[in-house]
């Protein structure tokens, strides 16, 4: 006859054993079985952060797990990218990869990671075109007039950017080469102060993303001359694309997507890609992205990977041609 204590001990052993057996079974529970995190490699506020929070919110509901946004800013996205590249490829750490981390940065500086080899492309979210703006007071109405004006000024014009090597800098350099005029680059810490100085008349041209430029175009202190991208943007239907005006290769946009560490298992990538592409169909999500002038650009993981490689190649070529390299 077992004593009470023996029986209790036996029960405990059974419970322990069950727990032990259950644990590996738990690990094999279908993905995802715990919280995910999306690293936003920037400070809170702005397009990357917005995309991270919007995707986190929707993805969390679709997967039935909390998705936490972690802002790891620094070095124009290098700190967050490095953290992602080093994370375990288990599908629980993702990152918002954007034109900075996976487009222009690899083109202009030596990075402690490889933007292609160290990441798995998961899904493209969307992109916003850049728009060339000049002060309303400038005596030009169209892009060809601006080019003629800039040439007549013979290098007296200054243009702002959100920082050396950023898209706003490279896009203007690309246009300078294509149109054949000279202008001095003046770098700012982010697009905000660069906009303040074109409004104040300190600089004469700027190439911001549409979301940043639109309120000031509406405010009437600056006027848009042309947008990048393949088609006109529905928020600025009267503004021509560079393509229309005869400039080739101005289809680069400020894009945002989701990437993970290298070697993410294919089924996980497929699951996430399906969920994100499905959410891009939702009308209310489209509306929210429209606030940042973002057009959804659904892609398969392979298409997204190709897009990243093309974008890096595009900006690398330009940076090389213009001698833009931010390494000592």
């Amino acid at each position: 006859m077992q004593t009470l204590r023996e029986r209790a001990a036996a029960l405990a052993v059974v419970a322990f054993a069950t727990a032990f057996v259950a644990a590996p079974a738990g690990a094999q529970a279908p993905y995802p079985n715990r919280n995910l995190r999306i690293i936003a490699p920037v400070q809170p506020g702005g397009g990357v952060d917005l995309v991270a929070r919007t995707v986190a919110d929707r993805l969390g509901r679709a997967l039935g797990q909390s998705v936490v946004v972690e802002n790891q800013s620094g070095g124009g996205g290098v700190v967050g990218s490095l953290a992602t590249a080093r994370a375990a490829p288990d599908g629980y750490t993702l990152m918002v990869g954007y034109v900075g981390t996976h487009g222009t940065n690899p083109a202009v500086r030596k990075l402690p990671y490889d933007a292609v080899r160290d990441f798995t492309p998961v899904a493209m979210v969307g992109g916003t075109p850049n728009v060339l703006i000049v002060p309303t007071a400038m005596p030009v109405a169209t892009l060809p007039e601006f080019v003629a004006y800039a040439k007549a000024q013979a290098g007296k014009l200054s243009y702002g950017s959100a920082g050396p090597g950023t898209l706003t800098h490279l896009a203007m350099e690309q246009f300078k080469v294509a149109a054949g005029f000279e202008a001095t680059h003046v770098a700012y810490r982010g697009i905000g102060p660069a906009i303040a100085d074109i409004l104040g008349g300190q600089t004469q041209a700027l190439f911001p993303g549409l979301a940043a430029g639109l309120p000031h175009i509406k405010g009437g202190k600056v006027k848009p001359l042309a947008v990048t991208g393949r088609t006109r943007h529905r928020l600025l239907p009267d503004v021509p694309t560079f393509e229309e005006l005869g400039y080739r290769g101005f289809d680069g946009v400020q894009w945002y997507g989701i990437v993970g560490p290298a070697n993410l298992p294919a089924p996980i990538v497929k699951r996430l890609n399906d969920e994100i592409n499905r959410m891009l169909e939702a009308p209310d999500l489209r509306e929210r992205l429209a606030g940042e002038a973002l057009e959804p650009m659904p892609m398969t993981p392979d298409q997204f990977g190709q897009y990243i490689r093309d974008d890096i190649a595009r900006w690398s070529k330009l940076a090389k041609d213009r001698g833009i390299e931010l390494t000592d």
């Binding site: 400070q43 809170p44 506020g45 702005g46 952060d49 917005l50 929070r53 919110d57 946004v69 972690e70 802002n71 790891q72 800013s73 620094g74 070095g75 124009g76 290098v78 700190v79 490095l82 202009v108 500086r109 402690p112 200054s158 920082g163 050396p164 090597g165 001095t184 003046v186 770098a187 700012y188 810490r189 905000g192 102060p193 906009i195 303040a196 100085d197 409004l199 104040g200 300190q202 600089t203 979301a211 639109l214 309120p215 000031h216 509406k218 405010g219 009437g220 202190k221 509306e287 929210r288 429209a290 606030g291 940042e292 931010l326 390494t327 000592d328």
Partner: protein, 502 residues
């Protein structure tokens, strides 16, 4: 009166039950995170942003704005009680506020901070309501040349700010400038003094330096004198100000409010600069400048008023230009865009309820803060009676959580400890950390704008004296320098210094 009808519209929006509730929620939350060292409004607002999707845009912005100025408010509480500047603008409050707390006058310091902030907030609300569009035009006139000249003026005032040795003050400023150089150079995009550490590529965080130099160093010093650590709570005097004291601080509050309202509209560091400027001026015109840094009540009143009116005036560039002057405002832009409101010059005409409702709610929020906080002063002061062996680990833990949350990175926590040790060395050498912080903040801005101004002028240095605003600022700086250098005044400085040493 258009202003009155606009404000009428604003109050009709802000005084609905829903909006009062969200305003209250915002200021309470803001006060709490402000009091907790290091947990600033940025992560809080970032976390709450998704929740605001569901709210009407006015309520969302009212709540977020409440968090912002509530945090400014709560930040001064920790600055006064435990010498811990949670927000950059409360660094100056530490100087005299903490000394007052040590003398048992914590209640009075908190009261004057609350009253000063309220008066400043009321005035700044009127400024925003009445003059936002023209002031925004003025802010746009500030190009790189003007900013550079303003920074020159700021740095020279920092020398005047120091209460001790002139040489040490200059030394600390230079050290601050050097620390500010660390990071990525804005013009070339190259890294300086980062030793290949990616975490350093955006420079050292302000909160890291401030927390290390002030809070950590203070704790080390206190633990050093373990046996006989001063207990400054036995002699707590009246919590409220006497009428005589009130009359004494009122002019200081008025001056601080004015300075904050002017400097706050500049995108880029306006609110912080205004606190420093207000303190410097207060000390300069005082009959007894040597009492500053030793618990002068006006040394609390002026910067507190200045930073509150400054932080409210910083809504001007956001609301009228759509240019966010700091990270909090960038998040507010985010909150607007998710509701499909494009922040910018057209907000005032396209969304008048939002614009005026937000402005009216600022005043209501300020009123709530003062009503909430004045009765709480007694409770805060009681906090000082918590035995130090329990208090200091709590402060340390909160500081570490705070610095970690800056970038979700352990590196910043380690760096804070390094600055704590450095701060302890400074105390031993009798060097004041405030000028270092000013140099640390102004240095990079100054360099950036100098180089930008010269780029724009194609290398012509006369740009600083041919542009009228810039020339005026440079002239002011020169006058200030002459005053400091005049032998007679130098002698007076030395006297003051000797008295202090005595």
């Amino acid at each position: 009166m258009e202003l009155l009808s606009n404000l009428g519209l604003g109050f009709s929006v802000a005084l609905t039950f829903t909006n009062i509730f969200y305003c209250f929620l915002g200021v309470v939350l803001g006060t709490l995170i402000g009091v907790l060292p290091g947990i600033g409004p940025v992560p809080t607002i970032a976390m709450l942003l998704p929740i605001t999707y569901a709210l009407p845009p006015v309520s969302a912005l009212i709540m977020l704005a409440g968090i912002y100025y509530g945090a400014q408010y709560g930040g001064s509480t920790t600055a006064i009680l435990v010498n811990l500047p949670g927000e950059s603008s409360s660094v100056v409050t530490c100087i005299d506020g903490y000394q007052m707390a040590r003398q048992g006058r914590a209640g009075k310091a908190l009261a004057v901070a609350a009253i000063g902030s309220f008066i400043a907030g009321t005035f700044a609300t009127l400024v925003v309501a009445g003059f936002a569009p023209p002031l925004a035009e003025v802010a746009l006139k500030f190009g790189p040349a003007e900013y550079f000249s303003l920074m020159v003026l700021g740095l020279i005032s920092a020398v005047v700010l120091a209460s001790g040795s002139l040489v040490k003050a200059i030394g600390m400023i230079v050290l601050g400038l050097l620390l500010g150089i660390i990071g990525t150079d804005v013009n070339s995009g190259l890294q300086r003094y980062t030793f290949g550490i990616p975490e350093l590529s955006d420079g050292i965080g302000f909160v890291v330096v401030a927390m290390g130099l002030f809070a950590f160093a203070e704790i080390i010093i206190n633990l050093e004198h373990r046996g006989h650590r001063e207990v400054f709570t036995d002699k707590v005097s009246n919590l409220m100000l006497t009428w005589k004291e009130f009359k004494e601080v009122l002019p200081a509050i008025a001056r601080g409010t004015g300075i904050g309202s002017v400097l706050g509209i500049l995108p880029g560091g306006g609110a912080l600069l205004s606190a420093f400027a207000a303190y410097t001026i207060e000390k300069k015109i005082s009959k007894e400048p040597q009492s500053f840094g030793k618990g002068n009540i006006r040394g609390v009143a002026a910067p507190e008023s200045a930073n509150n009116s400054g932080s409210q005036a910083s809504f001007i560039p956001l609301l009228t230009l759509g240019i966010p002057p700091n990270a909090v405002m960038a998040l507010m832009v985010g909150a607007m865009t998710i509701h499909s409101i494009q922040p910018g010059p057209q907000v005032m005409t396209s969304n008048p309820q939002l614009f005026w409702g937000l402005i009216a709610s600022m005043w209501i929020g300020n009123l709530m803060l003062v009503v909430l906080n004045l009765p709480m002063i007694g409770i805060w002061v009681k906090l000082l009676q918590v035995p130090y062996r329990l208090l200091y680990p709590a402060i340390l833990v909160f500081c570490c959580i705070g610095t970690y949350s800056l970038q979700n990175n352990v590196f910043d926590v380690v760096l804070t400890v390094v600055f704590g040790v450095l701060g302890w060395i400074f105390v031993k050498l009798e060097c004041e950390p405030a000028p270092l912080l000013l140099g640390f903040i102004l240095g990079p801005l100054m360099e950036e704008n100098l180089r930008r101004a010269l780029l724009l002028s194609r290398g012509d240095p006369t740009v600083f004296v041919t542009r009228p605003i810039s020339a005026t600022l440079i002239a002011l700086a020169a006058i200030l320098l002459i005053i400091v250098a005049l032998p007679m005044i130098r002698k007076k400085r030395e006297e003051a210094f000797h008295e202090e040493a005595a």
